[in-house]
């Protein structure tokens, strides 16, 4: 397998998908770069629909879905560059994992005997159980078999729909490491999840989808910073919390203060000014700051905020 490649463009432009009166995806525009992008949203938000649109399995009702500059729908050739791991559990139960991955390889036109099948199975750690029928597999093993089948032709773009479903923690860690390593080699990875922790751990960029619309995209810490109309929260540990709290209470940038043993929580509406003022205040009062951490930069709070908007 080659180590790096020029990244193909996956681009969505004002894409919408509706079924009769129900709009599943509404005016979504984004581009994917090499690296891991997480598609995050509550159930029913349209994540699967978006992934199927990217994978050329649905026709956009409006807008364009481009892979390598060409529409993805109705063009089987796009699958040379794209690998899809669908969410539905169903695989061919009468095939063994090896046969399933081999079928994928054959349908990709890979010549026999290159060892691609074995490599793919090794990558997902299914080498030992590869000759058992898929019907005997657990849910997590079937997921891994699907991933192997999607990876066998070394696609430049990998699309995974809820890939961590049914995996135990160890398998999940392994899969996350796998995705990160693929991204490190220049692949474009797009995966969906409704579990924040998964996206937080793997994705460099996040696309937040709510009710079919793109609510936010980019690095989630940066998104947080952009949400200026919501106060930021910080947690402070200092040498004299009470005294500092007293000083902060008088500042107009501070909109809330909470006091607890060993911890001071501060809310501010003006992030920039506060971060300039705080060190000055502390120094003038002779208080040492041991720890200053953002309390709500987690993806959860970002997500929470976006969903409620």
């Amino acid at each position: 397998m080659s180590e790096t490649r020029p990244a193909p463009a996956v681009a969505l432009n004002a894409v919408a998908k509706w079924y009769g009166n129900v709009v599943a995806v509404n005016d979504v525009t984004f581009e994917l770069e090499p690296g891991v992008t997480g598609l995050l949203g509550p159930n029913g938000a349209g994540k699967s629909t978006l992934l199927h649109l990217v994978a050329g399995l649905l026709r956009p009702s409006a807008g364009r879905v481009l892979v390598d500059g060409r529409p993805s729908f109705g063009d089987p050739a796009v699958y040379r560059r794209v690998g899809l791991v669908p969410e539905r559990e169903a695989v061919f139960p009468y095939l063994t994992a090896r046969e399933f991955v081999r079928l994928s390889a054959q349908l990709q036109g890979l010549p026999i005997g290159t060892g691609a099948v074995d490599r793919a199975l090794e990558t997902v750690e299914l080498g030992a159980a590869a000759d058992r029928e898929l019907s005997t597999y657990s849910k997590g093993m079937r997921q891994r078999a699907k991933v192997a089948a999607a990876l066998v032709h070394d696609p430049a773009v990998l699309v995974l729909d809820e890939p961590f479903n049914g995996m135990d923690p160890r398998q999940r860690l392994h899969m996350m490491a796998l995705l990160r390593s693929l991204a490190g080699r220049g692949r474009v990875i797009l995966f969906s999840s409704h579990i924040l922790e998964e996206v937080e751990r793997v994705a460099e960029r996040v696309l937040v989808v709510v009710s079919g619309r793109l609510a936010a995209s980019g690095d989630f810490r940066e998104i947080r910073r952009l949400m200026t109309d919501r106060p930021h929260s910080f947690t402070l540990r200092t040498s004299d919390d009470r005294a500092l709290a007293g000083r902060l209470a008088g500042r107009p940038t501070v909109s809330g203060l909470t006091f607890e043993d060993g911890r001071l929580d501060v809310r501010t509406a003006d992030f920039a000014t506060f971060t300039r003022e705080l060190p000055v205040l502390a120094r003038d009062a002779g208080i040492s700051i041991f720890e200053l951490a953002p309390a709500d930069e987690s993806l959860e709070s970002v997500f929470d905020y976006l969903v409620r908007r």
Partner: protein, 248 residues
């Protein structure tokens, strides 16, 4: 995109899926029915004109019930089962021409149907008339083969177009071919059973007896081929624009 080399793997996976399960039992039982009838009749003894009996069984049981139902079950399941449970996505998300996929499905279903029905017709016929009427046997075989191929092609395409292919196919066989086409001679040209009977009568030649159809041999062959070809084209076209329907 890839050429014929994908046909092998596609046929393989289809064959394993289609022929390995419970439905093969049903299809096998259907195909065995005419043989069972022949066995019972022969054991009962005292048969008169066995050739005529053979023709009656052929026209009323084989071509009316066994062949269409075998083709229906094989044809609708060849791709229908995979569309139903979502595994078809593993075939669609590959750089494979949709025509090859449809062709593989039709090939497997038709071959299985031809084998089952062909053996059924030959064995039941041979049990009754022995080898006295080879033309008749050949004719019946040819007719069944042509009908099976045309039926399976239509039913495979039907399952790409609709999720209710089995019901639609049943309606076609029972209602259309059962009542309407046999009632009005004008519509005989639209019945696959008539094509099969036409071919059977044409090939059987002088031994055809009461077998026959308003439709001449060549017309029957041509129409059957046209129907199969049209079904293939429509199926491939529809599959090329297939949208996954999935609860998100």
């Amino acid at each position: 995109m890839l050429g014929a080399s994908v046909l092998g793997p596609l046929v393989d996976v289809t064959a394993r899926g289609l022929l390995g399960r419970r439905r093969i039992l049903l299809v096998g039982l259907l195909a065995v029915a005419p043989v069972g009838v022949a066995v019972v009749l022969v054991l009962g003894g005292g048969l008169g004109a066995t050739a005529q009996i053979t023709r009656d069984i052929y026209a009323s049981l084989v071509m009316t019930t066994v062949v269409p139902l075998v083709a229906l079950i094989l044809g609708t399941t060849a791709i229908g089962a995979e569309i139903d449970d979502g595994t078809v996505v593993h075939l669609l998300a590959k750089p494979v021409g949709r025509g090859w996929i449809i062709l593989a499905k039709m090939l497997v279903a038709a071959t299985a149907g031809v084998v089952l029905c062909g053996v059924s017709v030959l064995v039941s016929g041979a049990l009754l008339v022995g080898l006295d009427a080879p033309g008749l046997l050949l004719g019946m075989l040819a007719g069944a083969v042509v009908a099976v191929i045309a039926y399976t092609a239509v039913f495979v395409t039907l399952s790409v177009w609709t999720g209710r292919a089995l019901v639609a196919g049943l309606a076609y066989v029972l209602l259309w071919e059962g009542f309407i086409a046999s009632a009005f001679s004008g519509t005989r040209l639209l019945s696959i059973r008539e094509y099969g009977l036409a071919v059977a009568a044409g090939i059987a030649g002088p031994e055809k007896g009461t077998l026959g159809s308003d439709v001449p041999l060549v017309t029957g062959l041509v129409l059957a081929a046209a129907v199969a070809g049209l079904a293939f084209a429509l199926g491939a076209r529809r599959l090329a624009r297939f949208e996954i329907s999935d609860a998100g």
